[in-house]
């Protein structure tokens, strides 16, 4: 049984509904009043009155038909809605009468609302997006973490993963996954298909059900299990023509056949950090009994048990980690576990930026509202007589405020429509120019949530931009405004003070945004001026993807690399070609080692370096300078004395003050030979321009064994490197039809993408917002000073008549502008100091309270504000005292 709605709701509904039965209800009321009169008249006649007297008396007691009808209709609700409608029509007429004001106001608000909607689209599509899995809030990403060395989020060793999984009580289950991109042969060439190698429970943990076929079964991930795969929906559509009989057919990856178990639904795509969306999934073959704790090999996700909090899980995982430290000190000493929500993990990088940008657009909207409020206040001045007249004719104050708010709503909602169009455009441009292939942003668009947000913002806008002017303008003293001319009434002084305060606030907000933008610009400049340690011009890098099937062992690979490097060097336009494990900026490959001086270091201070296998010409391709000793030679091969090259940071860290050439080191003296350092090379910012130098170890590719397979190449070209992409592809497929080239990029592109793109996004966005804020603030101060000059014309005339010179008048007006700008800048500085800590994570080699930036931005703002004041001030100096005084 449903309870009846409360009486007031029912009444409100009926009042609204009565709008649509207006005429019928009006007729009914007349009939009812008529019958009342007749009954009363009959009574009066019975009491002995004459018929005319009886009627007069009855009418009198009813209190006037017109008034009764009005009261009745008021109660019926007709008036409220009817008058809103009339206000709307009247407001529209008012706005159309002042196209200039209307255009400026709508445009200003549209900028503010549009910027908010655009940035909110990003927030909604990333930070607020529910992950497309079952109960996504219980999905947790787990990292191996080594706080002492600052490795907060490391992938996990299979041994640790197995122990975590078996020992914990917080998670229903844990799954591991790792990139397994493979070659798919298409005609004469092969393409690299992004894919993941996953433990068999991967889909169960995510809670994703294949749209066709079945997920992996337990045991599919044991070594020696038959090859099976799930494919993505898009692969199924594009490569298999949506074949309904796909289950049971096979797909050839890296020259091996995999039986297709099913097609994953479009929402089970999980990517590795920064990687593309997976197109297929194959089982990650491992034996839990012999899994090692050395090699960090898996991303790990877990599904929390119902009712277990993230903090509780983190607590338990820490305990398990400390057990593992004792059990496997050689590998796990110093390592702990970091757990975070999967969504936070996927959006961690953009969070601080988006939060700051959200704040920035809020500032811009505030400034826009202040400007429109100001415009309305100055219009209120000229509308005083109209408003005074209306209130003299019986409009009460709330009625006048309502009228003015209706006009503000018209402005705000038109602005919201234009702002949404603007936001759609901005989002498109930003996605195209910065995140074209980044699947993390695929959910960013103007959806219903963004539209709802836009509506809310517009409502806020109505009150921010309309309430103050409505109260100020409606509170006019009747007699004084009707009597006096509109110029010098008492309220205009109060209004003017208020406008000054508003513009000061605007100036402060602009200062805050400009400081933020200034700091980001300095960051970008600082980053650009970092010497990467190599010469990125005319260098092409790419990955070579060979199937493990044909090149099972390292000698086979080595032989292929020999032939391939020879082919590359012979290509026209190639000056030198080199092999490298991973080019700088494209990842870090850490490995432990020992020096002969300290062959058995304590477990918690094992030396560690980036491990690179290179061909002799690699340093020439990158133009990394040789400091001491020699580069590798073609003769550094299996059978010759094992050699290595180190960078300056490694030499400084492990052989401080000594010549590294001639020193000995080993990856593990029990297993691998001691190698002699033959060369010292310059440092490279391997992990990004904003990172510190790290120790690096280089080994010649012809001396096996490799700790892991190198598969990247770099070539130095005489012209545009990208023009060589096709001949490189051809060279590969001539050697092996199943081999493929992946992600060909110039070194300049690599640096831009990996080290500069995010910074430039931050800088361009905050810079644009600060620019808008500056323009709006200039318009604001210009408006206020102009208005003030026109108000003070008689006063200025008087001053000039009493002997003030033009410069005196100029000074008078300028000082007014200066006061506003000065106080605004100070407020902005204060606000910037308060918000400094939020900026710190986005900055590089510049402090969040950098005095130079503050000073420069403050100076810029003051100058621009003064210029905006100067124009009206000059008009003031041209006041003719005679005219001005007569005017009074």
């Amino acid at each position: 049984m449903s309870t009846p709605p409360p009486a007031f709701l029912r009444a409100a509904f009926l009042r609204f509904a009565s709008l649509f039965r207006k005429h019928k209800l009006d007729r009914e009321l007349s009939a009812e009043l008529e019958s009342h009169l007749q009954l009363h008249i009959e009574d009066n006649l019975r009491a002995g009155m004459s018929s005319s007297e009886a009627r007069r008396h009855a009418l009198l007691r009813l209190g006037g038909l017109q008034q009764t009808t009005e009261d009745y209709r008021d109660q019926r609700g007709a008036h409220f809605f009817e008058s809103i409608w009339r206000d709307t029509i009247f407001g529209l007429r008012q706005l159309l009468k002042n196209p200039g004001f209307t255009f400026v106001a709508i445009f200003t608000l549209a900028l503010g609302i549009g910027a908010n909607s655009a940035i909110f689209s990003f927030v909604s599509g990333t930070l607020l997006r529910p992950l497309p899995y079952r109960d996504p809030d219980r999905l947790i990403q787990l990292w191996s973490s080594e706080p002492q060395r600052g490795w907060w989020k490391n992938i996990v060793s299979v041994g640790d993963f197995t122990d975590w999984k078996n020992r914990n009580h917080s998670f229903e289950d844990m799954a591991g996954y790792i990139d397994a991109s493979s070659n798919l042969s298409v005609g004469q060439q092969a393409i690299v298909l992004p894919g993941l190698s996953v433990t068999s429970n991967f889909f169960a943990v995510l809670g994703a059900v294949p749209q066709m076929g079945q997920p992996f079964r337990p045991g599919d991930d044991l070594p020696g299990a038959p090859h099976v795969a799930l494919i993505s929906r898009s692969l199924w559509v594009q490569r298999f023509g949506s074949d309904p009989q796909i289950v049971g057919k096979s797909i050839r990856l890296n020259s091996e056949n995999y039986t297709i178990l099913g097609v994953a639904s479009s929402s089970s795509a999980l990517q590795t950090e920064g990687g593309p969306l997976a197109q297929f999934w194959i089982p990650y073959a491992y034996d839990p009994a012999t899994a090692d704790h050395d090699m960090h090999a898996l991303y790990v996700i877990g599904r929390l048990r119902q009712g277990v909090s993230l903090a509780q899980a983190q607590q338990e995982m820490k305990m398990i980690a400390s057990q593992l430290e004792k059990q496997y000190p050689k590998f796990d000493l110093g390592w702990t576990v970091k757990a975070e929500g999967l969504r936070e993990s996927l959006t961690g990088d953009v969070r601080p930026v988006l939060i700051i940008l959200m704040g920035a657009v809020a500032c811009v909207l505030l400034i826009a509202c202040v400007n429109v409020a100001n415009l309305q206040l100055s219009r209120g001045g000229t509308r005083q007589r109209e408003i005074a007249l209306r209130s003299a004719l019986g409009a009460n104050r709330s009625r006048l405020i309502r009228q003015l708010l209706v006009e503000s709503s018209l402005l705000a909602f038109s602005a919201a429509v234009i702002g949404s169009l603007l936001a759609g455009w901005i989002v498109n441009v930003l996605l195209k120019s910065y995140f074209a292939d980044d699947p993390s942003f695929e959910a960013v668009h103007l959806d219903s949530r963004v539209l709802l947000f836009t509506v809310l913002v517009s409502v806020v806008t109505v009150f921010l931009s309309g309430l103050v002017p409505a109260f100020m303008t409606s509170g006019i003293h009747l007699e004084s405004s009707l009597r006096e001319s509109s110029r010098s009434s008492g309220t205009s002084g109060k209004t003017h003070r208020l406008r000054g305060i508003l513009v000061t606030a605007e100036c402060g907000l602009a200062m805050l945004l400009l400081v933020g933008a200034g700091l980001l610009i300095r960051t970008f400049v600082a980053l650009n001026s970092v010497n990467p340690g190599l010469d990125p011009h005319n260098v092409l890098t790419f990955e070579l993807s060979l199937s493990n099937f044909h090149y099972k062992d390292q000698p086979a690979r080595l032989a292929f690399y020999d032939r391939f490097l020879e082919r590359l060097s012979a290509l026209p336009g190639v000056e030198a070609a080199g092999l490298v494990t991973r080019p700088p900026f494209l990842g870090y490959n850490g490995w432990g080692f020992v020096t002969s001086e300290n062959p058995e270091p304590p477990l918690d201070s094992q030396p560690d370096a980036s491990y690179q296998v290179i061909s002799p010409d690699y340093f020439k391709v990158m133009r990394i300078p040789l400091i001491q000793g020699r580069f590798f030679l073609p003769s550094d091969r299996n059978g010759s004395a094992p050699v290595a090259i180190v960078n300056q940071t490694l030499a400084r860290t492990y052989w401080p003050g000594q010549n590294p050439v001639g020193k000995q080191l080993s990856m593990d003296p029990k297993v691998y030979p001691w190698v002699t350092v033959v060369g010292l090379v310059g440092d490279v910012h391997r992990q990004g321009l904003d990172s510190d130098f790290a120790p690096e170890l280089f080994f010649p590719y012809r001396q096996l064994p490799w700790m892991n397979n190198p598969h990247s190449f770099a070539i130095r070209t005489s012209g545009n490197p990208l023009l060589l992409t096709n001949s490189v592809r051809q060279a590969v497929s001539e050697l092996d039809q199943d081999a493929a080239i992946d992600s060909p990029l110039t070194m300049e592109q690599v640096i831009r993408l990996r080290s500069l793109a995010n910074r430039s996004f931050n800088m361009v966005l905050l810079g644009s917002l600060a620019g808008i804020a500056l323009v709006l603030a200039v318009v604001g101060i210009f408006g206020v000073i102009s208005y003030s000059v026109s108000q003070r014309t008689p006063e200025i005339g008087l001053r000039m008549a009493l002997g003030a010179s033009s410069p005196d008048v100029l000074k008078l007006i300028l000082s007014q502008g200066l006061r506003i700008a000065g106080v605004g800048v100070l407020a902005g500085v204060l606000a910037s100091l308060i918000f400094a800590h939020a900026m710190t994570s986005l900055l590089f080699r510049v402090s969040a309270i950098d005095p130079a930036t503050f000073a420069a931005v403050g100076l810029l703002l003051m100058t621009v504000m003064l210029l905006a004041t100067y124009l009206p001030a000059r008009r003031a100096t041209r006041v003719d005292p005679v005219v001005a005084l007569r005017y009074e």
Partner: protein, 113 residues
Amino acid sequence: MGEKKDVLQGTLALMVLKTLEALGPLHGYGIARRIEQTSGDLLSLNYGTLYPALLKLEQEGFISSEWGFSDNNRKAKYYKLTRAGHRQLERETREWNETAAILQRFLAPSEER
């Protein structure tokens, strides 16, 4: 004999409800007359104010109306109490009595302690 009192704000609704409870279905004029008579002609009711009040009560669901014929065969709109109206009358009566009792205590000659 003093001058006539105006109807207190908000008490009109209570009087209407009570009248309808006592007399059953009644038209607007009848309600107005009854209120005047019950007050011993001490209250002067501006009949015009009655109709918005009736509409409000109807909107709130405390009374309902339909057209009918008076004793001398005139067409008139008759109002009657709904079930919600009965409850509302009880509630308002109780509240009014409480208020009146409190005021009584205030206005009673103060006792010596």
